[in-house]
Symmetry: C2
Subunit: 530 residues, 2 copies
Amino acid sequence: MSATPSLPAAKVIHVDTRGAIILSEESPETRDSRGIYLPNYIEPVSHIAVDVGGSLAKVVYFTRSPDPPSSPSVIATQGSNGSTSSLSPPRSHSPSDDGTGGVFTPSGHPTSKQSGALTPLVLEGGPSALANGLLHDSLMRRTAAAAAVQHFPGGSLNFERFETDDIHACVAFIQALIERSAQVNGVPLDEMRRGVKIMATGGGAHRFYELFSGALHVDVRREDEMECLIEGLKFITLIPDEVYFFSDELIQSVSHPTPSIPPAVPAAWTKPAPDGAAHLPLPPLLERPSPDPPKYGVTFESNPTPQLPCLLVNIGSGVSIIKVDEDGAFERVSGTSLGGGTLWGLLSLLTPATTFDGECAWVYLHTGRPLTWYFLRVRVWRTEMLAFSECGDNSTVDMLVGDIYGQDYSKLGLKSTMIASTFGKVFKKGGEKGKFSAEDISKSLLYAMSNNIGQIAYMNAEKYNLDRIYFGGCFIRGHAATIATLSYAIRFWSKGTKRALFLRHEGFLGAIGAWIRNIEPSPDVLDADS
Amino acid sequence: MSATPSLPAAKVIHVDTRGAIILSEESPETRDSRGIYLPNYIEPVSHIAVDVGGSLAKVVYFTRSPDPPSSPSVIATQGSNGSTSSLSPPRSHSPSDDGTGGVFTPSGHPTSKQSGALTPLVLEGGPSALANGLLHDSLMRRTAAAAAVQHFPGGSLNFERFETDDIHACVAFIQALIERSAQVNGVPLDEMRRGVKIMATGGGAHRFYELFSGALHVDVRREDEMECLIEGLKFITLIPDEVYFFSDELIQSVSHPTPSIPPAVPAAWTKPAPDGAAHLPLPPLLERPSPDPPKYGVTFESNPTPQLPCLLVNIGSGVSIIKVDEDGAFERVSGTSLGGGTLWGLLSLLTPATTFDGECAWVYLHTGRPLTWYFLRVRVWRTEMLAFSECGDNSTVDMLVGDIYGQDYSKLGLKSTMIASTFGKVFKKGGEKGKFSAEDISKSLLYAMSNNIGQIAYMNAEKYNLDRIYFGGCFIRGHAATIATLSYAIRFWSKGTKRALFLRHEGFLGAIGAWIRNIEPSPDVLDADS
């Protein structure tokens, strides 16, 4: 039996990402929390990573599933010509829903009940098996005994979200996950717990440390938030089709939608000639197809190359701006308090909206038939803040350059359609409170927050000579207008020299980073000789 | 008769500012529109400058007054130890109010009825007098004829504000000024008009050009907004006591007020000793006075030195950021749509406030006893948006670093009291709309806008290596919390290497620049030989 090779230090990401594919989402609401199938990976110890921010707690964990899912990411991304109103394809594949709350279960596998659970290597006959160098043997062994744990490479990274204000729901979820995994693997709960570690990061890692360790009876380790963010970024950008961006044409069509203008059709085409004869003029010349046609689809990075150095702009309740050097060293260089929390807070007071786009993390805690009903309920909620903004016209509340100057201020390169003053038309002397629609207000404030973040991000990218700007955090949610505005701001200020890049798992960078930060064998394995 | 010396080109400011003094304000509402007495100046042609912005139209004009006012700026500024809640001293001197709507009239002067009017040199017997080189003679001539115009050096720059939405009030005011000046000088209206020019700038110079020329029957000249802003800045910074700033101690005491903590008084000091005897411990040691005591007063630049190069941040409805080189060349390098209009708009919808701090420009159009009533009415309005913010506690609506981390995030230099997310506590999942006070909302948003402007201003100052940052525009209005926040932001981001500077006539830079831009004699004078 050969010795287990010593694993490199934690700084190196050594999760085997070969062949990684992003799964199809289960619903548009979970577009940013799709599972990632890693066919070659197997966990030594199960890490459940929790990143507790100001508003949301993000959870990442790995469950084993022996067969690749039947929804590879080529379906998930729909190439580069997907619809622009949402990044989600229609539901072309739904996991069989056995009501076990978010457990991925491909249909048809003989041992399917053993899939979708935490299945760390340490469960293979306990720690002594590892210490005796039985690691490789265990990978090969399949026993008939139902109680034997079976380890195969391959499984999925799973992503969940909870409200920080409802942290107990998050704790309950993890508790249920551990208990279910013990059952699935046929091991006592105590042994299961020994094979699990909680990696906690974000501000709440400190606030809720006692809660997590007291309730879950597992090791809880606190990890620095910024370090986890960067580790998560470095990891996730290795996954094919994770990173995406809007082309210039797409930015333009989303930011400044113009009705498509067909070539002018002469009146004669719509009426017959007076003499009834078919004297029709020649049809107008159609433009030749260009060798470089406009790209209106979202562009995914299918073959990701190393992405450093870069700037990471993490937009949560507030915004952190972190520069990352080529060697991975990083520094939080800036930030702004005008973030997602600001927009949500303002819109909750200024419009009838009660949710951002529909929260559905709690769906997974319930089982059985009501699940269907909850999906429907969430869909209604989606016609809220973000949906409002899609229909709005900000020029009723914003003062544009044209309103002040009557025209462009071309000497300064300011077009008449540019926003001179956000909400500049709202205040009227004399106390007359205008009536402004929720749609217009939502659009104005979405533009304002996004433009401001884009401007501050650009200035930092310029200061540190960085061309790649990644946007992370739970603010964006694949919303086309937000992405277009951020992209446009970066393009405008940089005159096209810098690029805004987006991540499908944008809100989970910290959790992913916490998850991978300490992937190393137990000291027993490192010390073993054989 | 010596030839009139040829005057230099318009780019040079040749308004004689020797001995300039800022007059005491008439009321706290007009703290940023106090007259400036220029004892050595006399206008060849009366320029009335109008800067029409998105929300406000600012007017500047010069009226002759032979004697210096009895309210020199040493009263106006109260040295460097004035109260910090407002920059205005108590009303120690009020001009005699003869109900002629804003005409400055020092009491007791024998020719007082000829003061406070537009009195351009061209009125001295008409253009031919100038052409004949009678300019100097006319300065000496005092005729007994009541109709003779008397020219003496010395008079005041006057400042007025109107709502752009009510531009007709502005036009009416100027009309009245011209007509009254014709009467005071005893010349026909036509001749008066020939001695007047309107210099129009701002966006509205284009929008309202026809209105001004059609209604007023005088030359209207349009001037570029940015050029006027910079000319105005260069001029106004020459006036003693115009520029001011907050010391570090003052910033701290306004931004982070702490109740003064006297040295701990032992309990024994408050009760007699049990045996009734006067056995009192020694009083606590008082701190020695420092050789460099904290400066809690506003610091005025009494002896202004050349102020270029610098960054000018003009905060109106929106914000323009202009860099000015040492030689006066300038470029608008940045801006943001999150400006005064944004704050006023948000507060008008989120709070019961109906005004910013009380508008009173229109007071001057009315005469007689109602004037008193209008002052009172305006004073009530001042308990509005800005006053709300003074009483507020932003931590009920803002998410602070401490709320997320439970403590400082000292690794990143983020104190627990810093704002992580503006309005971050407002949005509650489930649609429960919180109740937040107008005071807390006002403070939060005032901080948010000011901090954001300060941050963007700092980044541009750093980019262009400029240490002096001037804040202009009608947003600040001498409000201590706004000034302290802007000053703190600059100090925080620059680690104390850059300074935020403020202007008492902050909203009038463009109008002042328009006023002085074309001060040159008529071509007749330049051509005259004698």
